[in-house]
């Protein structure tokens, strides 16, 4: 249904990857996001900061098209129906989003076959990138918290998404691994060229220092509102 990624004209950097226009999201009568307006420019890495309950995860889920805004509009890749663009988005949440009963490799093979007609990484390659042994015969249910997180990241990398949404990707990782992840993300963003305009990243974290090496722009949410925006240095 969605045209394969390579057939698309590379988006020129003037046109935003995602355009969020005064988006609000209510749960019952509680407002998790209030009137957020934001354009995501291609090729940049955004870091979302904010206290617990500020609405970071909610914003990511809205970007992923898994949650609809209560008010406002969202345009992804110039397309206003979020379902159409999903194949070009990779979303990693708190949960691993993989089958407990299969090994990491089996999980990835399965997911790859759902991305037919689109260039993907080889599952072994994706696992190697995140530092998991593809030959590991234990099923995912027996992995530790951090190993699961890596497997989950591998799943996201598999489809080589143009927009990568990561919800606290470092939260359960040891410092060493977290640094590896950051440089992996940096490499991912670079793509084959020095800076691929088709690799945009949005990530949330509480460990600001970890993300600085790749952050182009730091956004701060507070009680559902976007209260600050600092352009970082280009790495």
């Amino acid at each position: 249904m969605t045209p394969a990624a390579q057939d698309l004209p590379a988006s020129t950097s003037s046109e935003p990857v995602a355009r969020i226009q005064s988006v609000s999201r209510l749960f019952g009568d509680f407002a998790a996001l209030r009137n957020v307006t934001l354009d995501l420019e291609p090729g940049k890495c955004y870091v979302l900061l904010g206290e617990n309950g500020a609405g970071k995860s909610t914003l990511l889920r809205i970007l992923a098209g898994l949650l609809l805004p209560s008010h406002g509009a969202i345009t992804l890749f110039g397309n206003s129906t979020p379902t159409e663009s999903r194949a070009r988005i990779g979303y990693m949440s708190h949960a691993p989003m993989l089958y407990d009963e299969l090994t990491a490799l089996e999980n990835l093979r399965y997911f790859r076959s759902l991305y037919s007609g689109q260039p993907t990484l080889a599952p072994e390659e994706a696992l190697a990138q995140v530092g998991l042994d593809p030959a590991l015969s234990r099923s995912l249910g027996q992995y530790s918290q951090g190993m699961r997180q890596r497997a989950s990241l591998a799943r996201v990398l598999l489809s080589q998404p143009e927009l990568l949404l990561l919800d606290e990707p470092f939260s359960n990782m040891d410092v060493e691994s977290a640094h590896q992840m950051v440089s992996l993300l940096a490499r991912f963003r670079a793509g084959r060229r020095t800076r691929d305009p088709r690799r945009t990243i949005v990530l949330t974290t509480h460990q600001r220092s970890l993300a600085t090496p790749i952050a182009d722009c730091v956004l701060t949410l507070k009680a559902g509102r976007l209260v600050a925006r600092e352009e970082g240095t280009l790495s």
Binding site: M1, M97, Y99, L102
Partner: protein
């Protein structure tokens, strides 16, 4: 409602991908098939204990017991149908892939049909012994009526299980949605089986059978068309 499932050649390959994954997970532990078997056995025992059929009456209620036993045995399995996908938000990951939702549904329904039919094959003989049955009608028709009824159950069940998983106490919700919708098919199935077991020739034109087939086609089409919407419902 742009959800017209596109049945292209790749579609069946996709169904097979999903189906293989389910069979692999099941084959690894063989848990749900084993427990379903035992559960169905328990239900048959339970019912025949609770109703203590005297030989004459047994033929009258046996059809009902068989169908209801299948129904209950399946519900517990159907409840688990999407549990794996829900557990760690795998479903969200699936929603984000560009692959066709109807294929996912069809594969799940096939897997469930396979499991339920296996259970019926094993249980059939036990059932005949407990009820001292020897059918008087055309037994071969059973091989049509029962799979058709089972498919009605399983396809609807898979569909409504997907609908109910979002709610908090989903285990309870499924039967609440499924039973009312399945009732017509159940009735047709019960009466069809009864006609065969009693051999009273009350249905020479296989009316019940046709009704079941019609029900299957109708609901299957609706399910295939609507599954995308259900899956993508926020």
């Amino acid at each position: 409602m742009n959800a017209t499932p596109t049945i292209r050649p790749g579609w069946f390959a996709l169904v097979w991908t999903h189906l293989r994954k389910d069979l692999r997970i099941e084959g690894r532990s063989r848990e749900s098939i084993n427990s379903m078997l035992f559960f169905a056995l328990l239900v048959v025992v339970l019912f025949s204990m609770a109703f203590d059929p005297t030989a004459a009456a047994s033929r009258q209620i046996a059809a009902g017991v068989l169908c209801v036993a299948t129904l209950f045995a399946s519900v517990s399995a159907l409840n688990q149908a999407w549990a794996r996908e829900i557990r760690h938000q795998v479903l969200d990951a699936l929603r984000m892939t560009p692959s066709d939702a109807a294929a996912l549904f069809f594969a799940k329904a096939l897997a469930n049909f396979f499991f339920v039919s296996l259970v019926q094959l094993v249980l059939g003989p036990v059932f005949f012994i407990f009820y001292n049955l020897h059918p008087l009608g055309d037994t071969w028709q059973l091989a049509l009526v029962i799979p058709l009824g089972t498919w009605a159950l399983v396809a609807n069940g898979t569909f409504f299980a997907a609908l109910s998983i979002r709610s908090r106490n989903r285990e309870m919700l499924l039967p609440l949605i499924l039973f009312p919708i399945f009732l017509p098919a159940l009735l047709a199935m019960v009466l069809g089986v009864k006609t065969i077991l009693t051999g009273d020739g009350s249905d020479p034109q296989l009316l019940w059978l046709k009704l079941l087939a019609g029900y299957d086609i109708l609901f299957m089409t609706a399910s295939l068309l609507l599954f995308e919407t259900v899956l993508q419902a926020e």
